[in-house]
């Protein structure tokens, strides 16, 4: 390479071997004389900067590449003057150099020029630019993340962080210690939540996650820590949790309220019973059912005190079975409460066994008293309906035979007149007459014409019921009142409530029953057998007998006071022999009835037969006539009905044997007595008044003058029937 020339700068001989050394380095080296003329350059300078040998001796300002170095001349002069190095940046094309300028001194230390070295820093500069770019990119990316991020070095110093980190954690970042503690408490990079108090902001909850960063080619360990402020979320969650809890509490409260209300409305309480410890828990409703103060400690013994004495044994049996078996159970019993009222309860329970085999029952107890009462009432009604149904069937059967009272004889008309008079009243009627004369028909006629005709007509044949059961039949009985009384049962009087009871064959009643019947007639109330609770009824009593009750009274078989009560309005039904004129009509009627039943067509009755009927005495009265006709219809093979004479073989004047003491002994006297009683009854009902729409004459259906005449003839004192209070007030 060109050697510096002039002013003795030529290398000496000893060093001549080193002259080529500068050409061995790849750093361009340029030497300028003090006057800034190019004195020398090495091979690299020629190669890199493009200096030519012809440039030697030219001023640097005229060498384009050197002219491009900023402030080169100024710096060279300064360096030469000060003896200190200087530097400048320089680039040629895409190549960047750091130009360092040193003073060039000779052996005598005199500055003989400047030495310029050109270090190519293109690659380094590019790498720095790349680093800057990468960091700026990283920073920009990190700053786009809304949540704080920080990269920590191994000693937990902050290596880099985003803006959000500094915004939120400035204090922590500076103080370091707190952050270290937070990081240190992250338990080996496991995500965690930390509550931290920020000055001015209060406590915030942070979710911290830390993960190691592996940097390729670097052994340095770094950790990326991310923070998420979850305060709002936690608060919202807490709020939601609280709201959810509150809602659940409210739901639970409502559910409990609904359950309690449902239990109250259904009269059902619930319980649990831990058998091994005898721990019993009750719902409020159960306390109410057992009439216990809510909250008292419940024990089996306490429950036992409420069990009806009659149900105690079965109750204890049930408890024992449940305790020993653990099986589900269902049980119904009565409670006897402190006020002596009785409740019916239905208990059902399901047994649950825990892992150790201990049994706990979960169950319910329902107060079924109203249901039970209703059931009893329904049963009573059912009984009543049954009876009414039976009575109705009987009535239909009877009515089919005696739809109307057939006949037009004077005797019968008198009876019908009495029926018409007494029917609208509630007076007790005693119907007298021989067997088969139609006493029941008369009773039904009275009922039918009365205001009770819409209600039941209960017929009781006192002679057909055993004496031991007659009271029970008439008045009913309580459960257990006597052997066989398995259920409570209503009697005929209850069945006839609002209607009419017809006591046929009244003369057959026992004296004991007569007393009860007398009470009904007097008080209009009675007792069921086995009960002390009186039952009030509104029943009209019609009685009938073929016996001579006066004689029975005389014999002590019938109570006189009862007779008085029954004999308010006696009606005597005449025997058929006293109304023979009615026989043809009766025969025709009966033949039609039986022929229809038998499916026969009978259009005529043999005259001889009719004559036989009219000649016959008919001790069995219409029932006998009915039997004879039925028999004749069955045997009849044509359209003409006839009977065999032998069927009517009784003595024509034979007196009825069924009436040991002839009731017809003195008809006039009897009639006078009945007339007297009817008038007195009417006067009593009308409080002694004879005339007017509410007077006794109207009640009896006869003119006032006729009644006055009868009262006079019979010697009746009308004043006896005047109300006492009026008499007193007028006096």
């Amino acid at each position: 390479m060109a050697a510096p020339d002039g002013d003795g700068a030529t290398p000496n001989t000893a060093a001549s071997d080193l002259t080529n050394v500068p050409d061995t380095v790849d750093v361009p080296i340029v030497v300028l004389r003090p006057n800034l003329v190019l004195a020398w350059f090495n091979k690299a300078a020629a190669n890199v900067l493009g200096l030519l040998p012809s440039d030697i001796g030219r001023e640097s300002r005229n060498i384009s590449v050197l002219a491009g170095v900023p402030r080169l001349e100024e710096q060279c002069r300064q360096v030469m003057a000060s003896g200190t190095e200087s530097g400048a940046d320089f680039h040629q094309g895409h190549q960047w150099f750091v130009v360092r300028i040193f003073p060039h001194t000779r052996g005598d230390s005199q500055v003989s020029g400047s030495v310029l070295t050109f270090t190519n820093v293109t690659a380094f500069r590019a790498s720095i630019d790349q680093v800057i770019y990468e960091r700026e990119c990283t920073k920009a990316i990190l700053n786009t993340v809304a949540d704080p991020l920080v990269v920590l070095s191994a000693d937990q110093r902050i290596h880099s962080a985003n803006r959000a980190f500094y915004t939120m954690f400035f204090e922590l970042a500076y103080l370091g210690t707190q952050l270290k503690e937070m990081i240190a408490s992250s338990h080996g990079f496991k995500p965690m939540e930390v509550d931290h108090v920020f000055p001015g902001e209060g406590q915030r909850t942070l979710s911290i996650d830390a993960r190691p960063l592996s940097l390729p080619g670097h052994s340095e360990r770094r950790v990326l820590v991310t923070f998420q402020d979850i305060t709002a979320r936690k608060r919202a969650q807490a709020t939601n949790d609280l709201r959810a809890i509150a809602e659940r509490k409210e739901e639970l409260r409502r559910s409990e309220a609904f359950l309690a209300e449902a239990q109250r409305l259904s009269s059902t309480g619930s319980f649990s019973w831990r058998v091994t410890r005898d721990e019993i828990t009750w719902s409020d409703q159960l306390y109410r059912i057992y009439d216990l103060e809510i909250g008292v400690s419940v024990t089996l013994e306490l429950m036992r005190t409420r069990v009806h004495p009659e149900d105690l044994s079965s109750y204890e049996k049930m408890v024992d079975q449940a305790r020993n078996g653990g099986a589900d159970f269902e049980y119904e019993h009565r409670l006897l409460l402190p006020d002596q009222s009785i409740k019916y309860v239905h208990m059902v329970a399901h047994g649950i066994r825990d892992e150790e085999g201990r049994v706990e029952y979960i169950g319910a107890v329902q107060d079924i008293t109203p249901r039970r009462t209703a059931f009893e009432e329904i049963k009573a009604l059912k009984d009543q309906l049954y009876k009414e149904n039976v009575a109705l069937r009987e009535e239909i059967n009877e009515a089919s035979m005696f739809e109307e009272i057939i006949g037009a004889s004077g005797a019968l008309r008198r009876v019908l007149l009495e029926v018409a008079k007494v029917a609208p009243t509630d007076s007790t009627v005693l119907i007298l007459g021989e067997t088969g004369t139609g006493k029941e028909l008369v009773a039904r006629a009275i009922h039918k014409r009365s205001k009770r005709s819409g209600r039941a007509f209960i017929r009781v044949n006192c002679a057909a019921i055993p004496a031991s059961l007659i009271a029970s039949e008439l008045f009913g009985h309580e459960k257990g009142a006597f052997t066989g009384a398995l259920q409570r049962r209503a009697g005929h009087f209850e069945a006839a409530d609002g209607g009419t009871i017809f006591l046929d064959e009244i003369g057959e009643l026992s004296l004991e029953t007569q007393i009860s019947l007398l009470r009904v007639l007097q008080e209009r109330e009675f007792y069921r057998v086995g009960s002390s609770q009186p039952i009030s009824v509104d029943v009209r009593v019609l009685a009938a007998t073929n016996r001579d009750l006066d004689a029975a009274v005389a014999e002590g078989a019938f109570r006189q006071d009862l007779l008085y009560r029954l004999n308010v309005f006696p009606i005597r039904v005449p025997p058929l022999r006293e109304r023979k004129n009615d026989i043809p009509v009766l025969v025709q009627y009966l033949v039609e009835q039986f022929a229809r039943r038998a499916g026969k067509r009978i259009t005529e009755i043999q005259k001889k037969t009719l004559s036989l009927f009219q000649a016959y005495d008919w001790p069995g009265n219409i029932r006998e006539l009915q039997n004879v006709i039925e028999r004749a219809v069955v045997l009849c093979e044509g359209k003409v009905l006839s009977v065999d004479e032998t069927w009517l073989q009784h003595e024509p004047n034979e007196r009825p044997t069924v009436s040991p003491v002839g009731v017809l002994a003195d008809d006039k006297k009897a009639f006078a007595e009945r007339e007297l009683r009817a008038i007195e009854a009417a006067l009593a009902e009308c409080q002694g008044r004879v005339s007017g729409p509410h007077g006794a004459a109207a009640k009896l259906g006869i003119p006032r003058q006729t009644l006055d005449s009868k009262i006079l003839n019979l010697g009746i004192d009308k004043r006896r029937f005047k109300p006492l209070s009026r008499t007193r007030s007028s006096s």
Binding site: G87, V98, V121, I128, V131, S160, Y174, G176, P199, G200
Partner: protein, 274 residues
């Protein structure tokens, strides 16, 4: 070595920071980091003296010990402090007495602060066109360890300054060669200040940083780094070039920043001791 260094150490010349303080204008918010009490005294008294000389209204919030020092130095510099206070040009409010008036729950209450400080500034302004303030309210909090409170108060002062347009100056007892300060505090202070005075001797700082960088990365690389980093780095507020280089290093080459900073401290301190 630079010949300038000898001049700066032997001949009292106006440092660039002095120029900043002398020429402090409305809306300027200058922060000084100091560890040497004399530096604090010099800076504050220069700021006050220049203000009084300019005819500005001065409001100070010093601690009492500091004020006593300032007062002596000002009077030594020929400032008639008493007269200035008498004529209402200078108002001094004890920082320890003032702080509790607007602090609530360890944090400044913005509304109370606004009310209290505005009242003081309003009373003080009087007929003066310009006003400059200096205080160490924030530094009191800083030294207590109430970092968040101190930064919050700085924010409030900065907001107030933007509103009322005065020159503000505050001083922190803070080590500029501390890595955490470089990494965290200075960027934060950059958000509420306009100028940073990081050290007393700027030339010494520049030489120390340049030499440290050359030592750490090599002379040619140092030159490349300096040019490349400073061309890319945008300082958060006005500061001397070597300080910007240190912050740029921390931002772009944090692995290099710490050793350079540490070496810079040594060189800076050594130069001061020489």
């Amino acid at each position: 070595m630079h010949s300038v260094e000898h001049q700066s150490d032997t001949v009292r010349e106006c440092d660039p920071w002095e120029q900043v303080l002398v020429e402090a204008a409305a809306h300027d918010h200058i922060v000084q980091l100091y560890q040497d009490q004399d530096f604090l005294n010099s800076a504050v008294c220069r700021y006050i003296g220049a203000g009084l000389q300019n005819g500005d209204r001065i409001v100070l919030f010093p601690t009492l010990p500091h004020w006593n020092t300032f007062q002596k130095r000002l009077e030594a510099d020929g400032v008639d402090v008493h007269a200035a206070r008498e004529r209402g040009q200078l108002t001094v409010v004890d920082a320890h007495e003032l702080l509790p008036r607007f602090m609530r729950d360890a944090m400044p209450d913005p509304q109370v602060f606004q009310s209290v400080i505005s009242e003081i500034f309003g009373q003080a302004r009087g007929s003066y066109q310009k006003m400059r303030a200096w205080g160490e309210l924030v530094d009191v909090l800083w030294e207590r360890g109430d970092v968040a409170a101190s930064m919050n108060l700085e924010d409030l002062f900065d907001q107030l300054n933007k509103k009322i347009g005065i020159a503000m100056f505050c001083s922190y007892l803070m080590d500029n060669f501390n890595g955490d300060v470089q990494a965290h505090m200075l960027p934060r202070l950059g958000t509420n200040h306009s100028h940073l005075i990081p050290a007393e001797h700027y030339a010494r700082l520049e030489r120390a940083v340049a030499a440290a960088l050359r030592e750490i990365v090599g002379p040619d690389e140092a030159r490349v780094l300096e040019s490349r980093l400073l061309s890319q780095y945008q300082p958060p507020f006005n500061m001397p070039r070597p300080q910007a280089l240190l912050l740029a290093l921390r931002q772009f080459l944090p692995a290099v920043a710490d050793p350079v900073l540490e070496r810079s401290r040594s060189l800076y301190t050594a130069a001061g001791a020489a």
